[in-house]
Symmetry: C2
Subunit: 649 residues, 2 copies
């Protein structure tokens, strides 16, 4: 299919087909729709279900993961602890006169990009072509004025755009003032950026007092069930949990269809691993996979040149931090290609330090190239021990692994010994808080306190919420003691591959879409048979009564093998019926003609090549099943059938 990428991508043609065939459409369209919400129609829904089914087999079953299904409704406290209440936000600014709302980083980006384009035009250079930019979307800036900028301004703008994902609200506010950015549609001034939390809020229960959110990721449910999952796994490490379900983000300005919606399907894996041993038992199986990497340092040097190396080399050189991360990167690659991603339009980009989510310590994104630019479709983040630690601290539940040591070890550590009887009379209502504060001190803090106590015969403590107190030596002892430990207790680190299914689906549509060179209007979606919504279109040559029972017979044979199929017995020409079918991405057609009445043979047509083969019904069904579910090629799968020549009139 060398035709696919030969010319500028015909996004309009694709969108028309996706709409006409109801792959997806705006939700509530008869009510005018709601930005960021889409419904999948029958072919889109089946495609999505097949991708999920493949994901479940490829990850959950193949790797023996523990799949869970947790609720979307989540109480406030959980997201307060995880940091989402305070940090899961974008910056928005408002046109003070009209109330129009902009997402601040997008607005700055669009305005500066428009000015750079205008500058290029003024300099007589052509503007950059579609595919080159990092992101392409419906810009708020409608008109581009051809104004030449000073060379140093161009450089400044470019520097800003390179790190636009990393600005704080204050930083964005400064850019808006400095570059005199206003509402592009009316020139009105904008208020300073304010934080807008992206979680949908609701109230749980009839009292209205329990505040809740719709989850913005499926991960937290997996973390909260960590101890139960570890038990399910017979206390063995490492192991992974997985979850498939909807998440919600109240985007300030949703756009580009499935690429940035407010409700979207995710498939997430949380792989729990010993922080001291991030090797992976199956790493050897993937280490020779060659991938395109775009590491942090290359980007920070202002380049986007891809590094083609094996996963083994990437881990050995330290570019990818550890085997587990490398293992998942390779597995993500194989999965994406299996479901229809074009490997030449897939890269792994490392996050630069200022764009990392608040919980991530490292992150590689699988990005897919589309007409909107490179789109993050799978994140593969090392969340370290962040989530388990904060939930454990908040709930006082231990979320740890206890691993027997091969040999007992002697450790020295500081221990606190309180004379609890004296605390009450001395500190009264604050006694509990002070004791708790002291008992929960870290080893470093205890070392300091021990020194203070030795030097002064008392210590000063500052207890959050209670105040400052002095504790005399008769109430407390802090000593370094030796203990023999038989068990190592640790909080696991988490490697998280997180798949945005809607974004992957849209990218595959672009990667699979082309039109036949002999007729531009005949478009094809070359979805792989494994995930195509329908596998077979059954086409009787005409409505002749002799053919009707054969349709029933073929339908029964396909149904028995659980091969999804459709019958098109409309009066349209065979060619027209196959053309519809090509738009739906159906890989096979079975034609019933008058020969079938005589000898039971039918024709099998392959969508991309339009090649046809002839054989008896059983052989044809067998070929379809093998190619679809066992992944053999058309040539291999149809070896026992006879070639057949006919024109698609």
């Amino acid at each position: 299919m060398t035709t696919k990428a030969a010319e500028p991508f015909a996004r309009d043609a694709l969108e028309q087909i996706l709409k006409r065939r109801f792959f997806y459409a705006p939700s509530f369209e008869i009510y005018g729709g709601v930005a960021g919400l889409h419904d999948y129609g029958p072919p889109g829904c089946a495609f999505q279900a097949n991708i999920i089914d493949t994901w479940r087999k490829y990850f959950v079953l193949e790797e023996d993961m523990l799949e869970v299904d947790c609720t979307m409704l989540t109480p406030y406290e959980v997201f307060k602890t995880s940091g989402h209440v305070d940090k899961f936000a974008d910056w928005m600014c408002r046109d003070l006169k009209t109330g129009e709302i902009f997402r601040a980083d997008h607005l700055v980006e669009e305005v500066l990009e428009a000015r750079l384009k205008g500058d290029k035009a003024a300099r007589g250079q052509t503007a950059a072509s579609e595919g080159d930019d990092k992101k392409k979307r419906k810009s708020k800036v409608k008109e581009i004025q051809n104004i030449r900028l000073a060379d140093e301004v161009v450089e400044e703008y470019e520097a800003v755009l390179n790190k636009i994902d990393g600005y704080s609200g204050e930083g964005l506010g400064e850019l808006i003032t400095k570059y005199n950015i206003v509402n592009p549609s009316n020139g009105n001034p904008l208020e300073s950026p304010v934080q807008f939390n992206l979680m949908f809020e609701t109230a749980i229960g009839p009292s209205g007092q329990l505040k809740g959110y719709l989850r913005p990721e499926t991960a937290q449910g997996q973390f909260l069930n960590f101890s139960k999952l570890l038990e399910c796994n017979n206390e063995r490490m490492p192991f992974a949990s997985a979850s498939i379900g909807k998440s919600f983000r109240n985007e300030i300005s949703p756009r580009a269809g499935l690429l940035r919606g407010r409700e979207f399907l995710m498939a997430e894996i949380e792989h729990f691993v010993d922080p001291e041993d991030k090797s992976h038992p199956r790493f050897a199986e993937v280490k020779d996979t060659v991938l395109s990497f775009l590491p942090q340092d290359v980007q920070e040097a202002g380049s986007n040149e891809l590094q083609q190396v094996t996963v083994g080399e990437a881990v050995a050189s330290g570019m990818v931090d550890n085997e587990t991360l490398g293992y998942f990167i390779a597995r993500i690659y194989v999965f994406l290609v299996k479901i229809g991603v074009d490997p030449s339009r897939l890269r792994f980009r490392q996050h630069i330090s200022n764009e990392m989510a608040h919980y991530a310590s490292d992150c590689w994104d699988a990005e897919l190239q589309t007409s909107y630019g490179w789109i993050e479709c799978v994140g593969c983040a090392d969340r370290s021990a962040y989530d388990l630690s904060v939930h454990a601290a908040r709930t006082k539940e231990k979320l740890v692994v206890r691993k027997p040591l091969p040999e007992p070890v002697t450790v020295e550590k500081f221990e606190v010994d309180l004379d609890k009887k004296k605390f009450g009379p001395k500190f009264r209502k604050d006694a509990g808080a002070i004791q708790k504060h002291l008992l929960e001190s870290t080893q470093c803090e205890l070392e300091d306190l021990a020194a203070q106590l030795a030097a002064n015969g008392k210590i000063d403590v500052d207890v959050a919420g209670a105040g400052k107190f002095t504790v005399e030596a008769d109430l407390i002892k802090i000593e370094r003691v030796k203990r023999v430990e038989h068990v190592r207790e640790f909080t696991p680190n988490v490697i998280e591959p997180s798949f945005g299914i809607g974004r992957i689906i849209y990218s595959i549509f672009e990667h699979s879409f082309w039109s036949r060179p002999e007729d531009k209007d005949r478009c094809v979606l070359s979805l792989p048979p494994l995930v195509a919504p329908t596998k077979v279109l059954v086409v009787p040559l005409s409505n002749h009564a002799d053919l009707v029972p054969l349709v029933g017979k073929i339908s029964a044979a396909l149904r028995k093998e659980q091969i999804p199929f459709k019958v098109d017995d409309s009066s349209a020409s065979i060619g027209k019926r196959y053309a519809r079918n090509d738009e739906l991405g159906t890989p096979f057609g079975i034609t019933i003609d008058f020969e079938t009445v005589k000898d039971g043979t039918v024709t099998l047509r392959e969508r991309d090549s339009t090649k046809q083969m002839r054989g008896d019904l059983a052989a044809i069904v067998k070929a379809v099943k093998k190619i679809t579910y066992s992944g053999v090629s058309w040539a291999e799968g149809t070896r026992e059938l006879a070639p057949f020549e006919s024109s698609e009139a």
Copy 2:
């Protein structure tokens, strides 16, 4: 499995196993949990996924339904139109002193039931046994006082309880006053019942001005896409859409685990049918299925005696309104039995007139008997043309089917002819509204207006939002005209089978649970192989090094056939490992022993009978596959294997 229902159901034992094996658990348990929210752990999640997969094959693929995936977030306007904003509510009443909230109907029910029990005890009769009551739950009434009631009071209470689902808020308020119902835990008075809408509310978008809800059912998304779906189906009728997804109801007092949660999985079918022809093409295939029916009239006569008749007879006698409803009732039955429901604990109960949802014109529930009583698990409602009509009226989009008439027909109807030029000068700003009002009048209204116009030479119209106006005869003509029509246009009726997956799952747990007669503590979940979370447990006899490579070989063979399995190579005895396995509902065990090293044969164990067969690996895998996915019996599936005797020590 005659042991299953032999004695009172051991709900505690089941609940312990479901918890210990993490079938499901309260969400956010380490935060104290939130009532009505549950997470599925690995076995529960796999069981649910298998049920959904079976549902999709059995309904969507088998019946060629159009599956869609619509958003849960829904704007206010949609549910305002569908009637949910005004009517999807329960009645709650509050303890005025403590603020405690009760669901009014449940409270009345529980208090009267407790008084009746106390009466029985006072009369020296034993209280009714667990299974007899319609509903069993954790009652708010903790203490039952043995007080004898007057005979007529007993009768009155029983009459109230029989129709408790049908009271309005006012009615419930009267009962609370009349029977002096107070907060059972402290005797405080209660405020009058107020309506509490069960939808979770949120705001969509950054302005906070677009009010939205989480859908309480998946149906509306299907209705709103009706025209697109009809087009997908090549404009042919009848057809069905289907949807699988989460819905949300903010229950006042959630209870009984999965039976009444606030977030739950539904699978819904909307079958669109010509209101003048509700026959079903495949009805003949199901008509001889004998089912247990509990029709409206029997209940209204105060009985709950089941009628055992065929679906064919039920439709012929008019007890079930039409073939399509009958067809789905029979299909629901077969599906439920296939996934593990005990057919002797399944009945179809017709709603009595006062309990019908606001949109339903008839409804049959598939109810499953559990230790909580008979639980509605699948509703099968005739929603008539209600939803399509109200959305069409609100949006002015036609949601209709146009069906070519076999022969053109001549119809007489009233038509309005307005002299639009004169309206503007005469009515000025109201001209548009008056014209619209007149043009949208129904045939009945036009008949009245035509009579007025003929009698008085003018008509009086009352335009909502604009006022009253008089229109003179020179501005309007209303005449009865004859038209030849070639097409019949109609709004389809909708038959809706709606599955509550969580309730079905819990009921199947109860229906499959039993303990071995020889040892009460050895419990078994006899889940059908098709839907069991894991199909095979692989058990090496010991950790001997000779057995390890065989575990790998068997795992590879099972993985190749995509048969979900687990390995248990712990040091527990074989018997203990199988006992765990029985609790997880795993139907097959494959034991690897030292014979395996010599001749490659393994033992296959069946969970319910603990029977064992011996054969080579390939034959054993083939048997597992056949029994699990082709539905053949154990005897049939293992015919080629040799019986094997051994004790489960």
